[in-house]
């Protein structure tokens, strides 16, 4: 952390105060989503899949009918979530949405059926990244400030375990068999591999600089981290706990989604999604999307990926076959959707 010269604070405040008093101070325009209430009403072709998008600025979660069949995307509901919501995950039965609210230091539990907040519990000092163990249903929260992974019981919402990770754990991913939990330890430039049962760190793997988002393939063999500072993606072989490849992507990559044997990486500063063929390791293309793309997730079938564009206030849909943007919709202010935010109507599905 940088040293803070407290003495100079008064001077600096006067600079800010003077600026603010001279110019007309306007609040950032809240464009907001034209959302109705309730989560399930829709018109026209019946959409069967929804995205839950955390909007950090407007402190809401937008519910979006994602039109996986190519229909128009539309916001069907909005849920108030104070505390600057960022991370998101879903229960194995897809009926419960878990959201981290870093400012409130809370885990927020949303019931999909009622589209309402069911519970809010304290979760460490800086809850950000979140995932759910697809087998046990345990809720896993990365505590950015305390450098820990917290394990919460899905029924009682009590913290039943904690693991010391590297510095500032960010993204979390779990192998499909529920056996291994991986965290990107952003300020340690590493991934921690944690045994889900014993909660022991079984290995740490050096990756690129400032890893943030992480995704694990359907076989549970490889993990992919988006490295914010080195502008690349590290490929980890989980069994041997080694980085086996590194792919250059756009600037300030944030998160990774996997579909059709390709990695889709959100490049915040480039405003693109870089697509990499995972067999050849070749970059296929960069797809221009809204500014500051952040959270990205694939449908279960891999037909589309959805991208939350933080500056643009949009959720955008990319066809993973044609590699084109085929839909977008305005959501709340500052969408992040960091984690698993897509629900398809089938009650359960194979984890990716």
């Amino acid at each position: 952390m940088q040293p803070l010269a407290v003495r100079a604070g008064t001077l600096r405040r006067s600079f800010v105060a003077a600026l603010a008093s001279i110019v007309c101070v306007a609040v950032v325009p809240a464009k907001g989503a034209s959302a109705g209430s309730g989560g399930r009403e829709h018109t026209g072709a019946v959409p069967t899949a929804f995205a839950y998008v955390t909007n950090q600025g407007s402190e809401t979660v937008s519910i979006v009918a994602i039109g996986e069949g190519g229909e128009k995307m539309q916001v069907t509901g909005e849920i108030k979530v104070p505390g600057k919501p960022a991370g998101i995950a879903l229960s194995p039965d897809r009926r419960t949405v878990y959201v981290t609210a870093p400012e409130a230091k809370e885990l927020v539990v949303i019931d999909r059926a009622t589209a309402d907040v069911r519970a809010r519990v304290r979760a460490g000092e800086g809850p950000l990244g979140i995932a759910v163990n697809p087998v046990t249903g345990d809720v896993l929260v990365a505590d950015w400030y305390e450098h820990k992974l917290l394990v919460l019981d899905a029924t009682t919402l009590a913290v039943k375990g904690a693991v010391k990770t590297g510095q500032s754990p960010s993204g979390i991913a779990v192998t499909p068999d529920g056996g291994r939990i991986l965290t990107t330890d952003r300020d340690s430039n590493q991934v921690s591999i944690i045994d889900a049962k014993s909660l022991a760190v079984v290995a740490t793997v050096p990756v690129g600089e400032r890893p943030f988002g992480i995704a694990i393939d359907a076989d549970g063999q490889r993990a992919y981290t988006a490295n914010v500072k080195s502008n690349d993606v590290s490929v980890i072989d989980i069994a041997t706990a080694r980085t086996v490849a590194t792919y250059k992507v756009g600037r300030r990559p944030y998160a990774v989604a996997l579909a059709r044997g390709r990695a889709f990486v959100t490049d915040q500063y480039s405003a693109t999604v870089t697509v990499i063929d995972l067999t050849s390791g070749e970059k296929l293309t960069s797809i221009p999307v809204g500014e500051h793309p952040e959270g990205i997730w694939s449908t279960a079938s891999g037909s589309h990926v959805f991208i939350a564009c933080w500056m643009e206030n949009t959720l955008e849909r990319v066809d993973t076959g044609t590699l084109k943007v085929t839909g977008k919709v305005e959501v709340g202010d500052g969408p992040r959707a960091f984690g698993d935010f897509l629900v398809e109507e089938a009650p359960s599905r194979a984890p990716r």
Partner: protein, 180 residues
């Protein structure tokens, strides 16, 4: 108004020493400021004022721009503010046809501007003889850990950037609408 602003800046910044801040450190909540101004002048004319990354003299708080690399991505500039504080910036994207440029702050003392990890886009969109200038910024607050002091919290960061943008946009409007 502009003069008062410059004078205030000059006074406030004189005594401040510059310390390096890790450019990539931040807490969980990124902030944004997105401001526009409508100008009664065509986009080309406005772009002539603001489209050179090596000259930020259009902003009332900027005393001097020194840099290298022209308007190519990767170009650097060092802004010396009226009163002596400095901000180092790098150009990340430049599109003359689209009247848009993006840049990042590579080094600034939080006492000069209470932000971390700041990136910004300045653009002009024409509508006949008129235009709209948009200035967008994304950044984290000055204090990178939990529970920041008030002068380095989210609100302080947004307020400071908003002030910089409002003053800059007002000055662009004045300059572009002046004369032929």
């Amino acid at each position: 108004m502009i003069r008062a602003l410059a004078a205030t800046l000059a006074f406030s910044l004189t005594a401040l020493a510059v310390a390096a801040v890790p450019a990539d450190a931040h807490g969980p909540t990124r902030q944004k400021v997105n401001k526009t101004v409508e100008i009664n002048a065509p986009a080309d004319k406005v772009w002539k004022i603001i489209g050179n990354f090596q000259d930020m003299s259009w902003h009332p708080a900027v005393e001097k721009t020194e840099g290298s690399g022209g308007n190519e991505p990767g170009a650097k500039r060092k802004l010396t503010l009226k009163g002596g504080g400095t901000i180092n910036e790098a150009l990340s994207r430049y599109d003359a046809a689209d009247h848009s440029l993006s840049y990042e702050i590579t080094e600034v003392d939080v006492k000069v501007l209470p932000v971390n990890n700041y990136s910004s886009t300045l653009s002009v969109e024409g509508e006949g003889g008129k235009s709209v200038v948009r200035w967008k910024g994304a950044f984290y607050r000055g204090f990178t850990n939990n529970d920041p002091p008030p002068e380095l919290n989210d609100e302080a960061a947004v307020k400071a950037v908003t002030g910089v943008y409002d003053a800059g946009l007002a000055a662009i409007k004045t300059a572009a609408e002046a004369g032929g």
